[in-house]
Symmetry: C2
Subunit: 499 residues, 2 copies
């Protein structure tokens, strides 16, 4: 195939698939936020058909020929097309290494395992899920070996989610944070806890909706480009830089919950709204990786949102909306309540300090599973042992233990580390940003825009054009270094708990 | 083509197009209810692509061959497929009579005219719109002649919107209601008006949202099949009988507005939820015609919703939600306020009695335009003359006059009569339903279900399987007769205004 023909066809195919992905994205968002419950059957028919159409384009012999042509001539093509082709090749690596039967069989396994996991979680019945998990582990090892015969299978999967981050890097990362944070968490668990009962008074949902609008205004989110919906679990989805959707969930007895989910999801949205115009409509629109996306959401949620400057800024606004509930609460009480840290069982509800310990435990377990050093039969015992050792908590049931997350039931081994990396990226980025910006002063003044523009210039504008490691170098001038994260947490929580 | 092959291909094409229509429907709903403003460009790209794909299927030579085969063998195929094929043939009649260039040119004209109309309405500048309207009239006449050389062009268009209802029928219909209602309206305009100021106190939107839920519950709408959203102008859209969407708009100074739009749109939704299971997934899912659809929405809105039994039922519920606003309002005051009738300028805001006069005026004007008896230049004067004559109102500007509706700017000549026919169908259906059901007793008891089941059995279950005229015969045992509508309005409003 001629190079020019390959480029033209590549763009055309991407554009066509983009239209289907856009439609499927809107339908998923609608399904989660607006559709009546029984819409499911009709919805599934559309999704199945569109998935079939895009799948057939993406694994067609023509597609392979196009990609091979582009790879062969990669030094002759522009940067955007080169990166698009490289990522498309990468995403097809597994698909081109396994048989169609293997692929279909795996899809069936994942669907069954997800359904079984769902019931197993409800009934805290790990035994029913274990055979499926065992098969998923075996298949992931086998697929990893087929896709990357030269690599360790777990490294293959880690690199799928966070390009360039293999066990080499992550072992060092998790060892460091374990050594620093486990003792810190244990020391804090012996200290008295601040009162946070005022965050759990009655906050009517309709008032919280207005509060969300205020928060998005403070963050500087242009509502002409970003809408907000309501779902059981908050998420963000984006179709192009002018059409982002975040969601939240209003608990009337927990102001903090939707408040910080709006800021967190708003951070994800900011990332994609900040993509350079020339990436819109290309396959490079979005975020560099799960970890880099999470770094931006947590930047707004934790580094800005849970800073003293921000809680001081937001308290008067919150009091205006909820005068009775927050009557008499001082800035210091508000800041301490928002930052209360306590070891707990559920990852998604963990506070800023203990969060990465949940991830660490999953990393250690995944590593052993993928190397045959832990059998899925022994997984719950190992899980519970690690929760006791690192967080000091007893796991009362598998429902609140190893069955809590959906990731493994979907075959997602290697995804968890990106959650923790996001926080570590953010701390390193913040340290460098502070050399150029009066971070606290800006937040205190409610002037978030210069911070967003800094992030846009150093991270957001690149979309998927750069790898996470490259973005760390671009934004900080050095390689990834977890020490910033450790220092940030140690300093913040030592002060909070008077250590 | 073999008949069996034609049937199989026909079903396959319909199913595939159905998937695209479903996706486009959800995207439109999302665009109106949830998407941020700037989503428009990306949204348009998807809609354009999917429209192109479905258009190419529906006008392909293969499609024509399939339809011709099915038409030729129409006595050998099942009722559903026969009707599907007949409606598909009907919808392609125009397309197969004009050239592709004509079609493209017409699409361009409509797009331009719509944009020009939009600005013209804002600026009350009819002169800028007039040349486009003139061209639209000319093209509609020409297209009507090409599609149906044997017929009057206006009859062709009327039949497009309301199968079987041509000028023969409509002249008789409108003459009758004009003779009966114009004098009635004039007599009422001399009577004192009931107080409705309590409907215009402050009703917070968040409270009205809860009230909407209550209303849908009273109507017996299964929320697992029907969701509610918010838009500038209320509408209903449905993708299958388990996925309906209605919308409303909350005006904080007008309780009646969203209350009756919810009941009206709920009636549209009821119609499609009541389709027989075997029509789901076929092209016969939906309502028989615009007029028949409107008959069902207005059945719930007016015949049920504005009846004394219903206002008596709903007042205590409304008072529970709005105790201060409705303090001291008696059932009689509530009923009279809800049914206040006053000639006005805007069709969409007209009350039950005067509504059809707005339609009558449009019908008379369309008829003259389509027969060259009125030039578009003279249209505003004719419009204003008729409003004065029939409704006794002076039209202060074209914005509130002949520029108020979007229909003509989109080439929709012949659509308006269906709005009025819907009310007339409903009154005739009600008269016959009352022979079998204790209508007032059921409504008073809040027991709407038997009424819905009656409508389902006589109307809803048929979807598009029958023509509106056939449905009138099925549900009433006789042909369409506008006298029921005249009697209903005369009796109701004579009593309300003590004539």
């Amino acid at each position: 195939m001629e190079l020019n023909e390959a480029i033209a066809k590549f763009k055309e195919q991407n554009k066509l698939m983009g239209v289907y992905y856009h439609a499927m994205g809107v339908m998923s968002y609608d399904f989660e936020t607006a559709a009546p419950k029984n819409a499911v059957a009709g919805y599934s028919d559309v999704m199945a058909k569109f998935s079939e159409i895009t799948y057939n384009i993406s694994v067609s012999p023509e597609r392979f020929e196009i990609l091979d042509t582009l790879t062969e001539h990669k030094d002759e093509i522009d940067e955007i097309t080169r990166r698009e082709a490289a990522l498309a090749q990468k995403s097809l690596k597994l698909m081109r290494s396994i048989s169609v039967e293997d692929y279909v069989e795996y899809q069936r396994l994942v669907n069954e395992a997800s359904a079984v996991w769902h019931d197993a979680k409800v009934n805290s019945d790990y035994a029913s899920f274990e055979p499926y998990l065992n098969k998923l582990v075996e298949t992931s090892i086998r697929f990893g070996r087929l896709a990357a015969p030269e690599a360790d299978p777990y490294d293959y999967w880690l690199d799928e989610y966070e390009e360039g981050f293999t066990q080499d890097v992550l072992d060092g990362y998790f060892d460091k944070i374990k050594a620093a944070l486990v003792p810190l968490i244990h020391r804090i668990s012996e200290k008295p806890q601040p009162d946070n009962s005022f965050l759990h008074k009655h906050f009517p949902a309709w008032k919280q909706r207005e509060f969300s609008d205020k928060l998005m205004e403070v963050m500087g989110i242009d509502r002409r480009d970003c809408a907000i919906g309501e779902t059981e679990h908050p998420f963000t989805t984006g179709f192009n830089k002018h059409d982002l959707r975040i969601t939240t969930h209003y608990y009337e007895d927990a102001l903090e919950s939707s408040m910080y989910s709006v800021i967190h999801e708003g951070g994800h949205a900011m990332y994609e709204m900040g993509n350079a115009d020339e990436l819109d409509g290309t396959t490079l629109f979005g975020g560099a990786s799960c970890g880099m996306h999470e770094s931006q959401s947590r930047f707004y949620e934790n580094l800005i949102g849970r800073s003293r400057a921000f809680t001081d800024l937001i308290l008067p606004i919150a009091k205006e909306m909820f005068p009775e509930q927050l009557d008499g609460v001082t800035p210091d009480e508000f800041y301490r309540a928002i930052n209360r840290s306590e070891p707990s069982l559920i990852r998604t509800e963990a506070d800023e300090l203990t969060y990465s310990m949940h991830v660490l435990i999953r990393y250690e377990i995944e590593k052993k599973l993928m190397h045959g050093e832990l059998s899925t039969k022994d997984l719950p015992a190992e899980w519970n042992r690690l929760y006791k050792e690192y967080l000091g908590v007893d796991v009362p049931s598998d429902k609140e233990g190893c069955l809590q997350d959906s990731h493994w039931s979907g075959g997602g081994f290697g995804y968890f580390p990106s959650y923790s990396l996001g926080s570590a990226y953010g701390a390193q980025i913040l340290a460098h940003m502070k050399k150029e910006l009066d971070f606290e002063g800006l937040v205190a003044a409610g002037n978030i825009e210069p911070i967003t523009l800094w992030l846009r210039e150093h991270i957001h504008k690149y979309g998927l054009l750069k790898t996470p490691a490259e973005l760390i170098r671009i934004s900080t001038g050095e390689d990834f270094d977890p020490q910033y994260y450790i220092d940030y947490l140690t300093e913040k929580f030592s002060a909070l708990y008077d250590l």
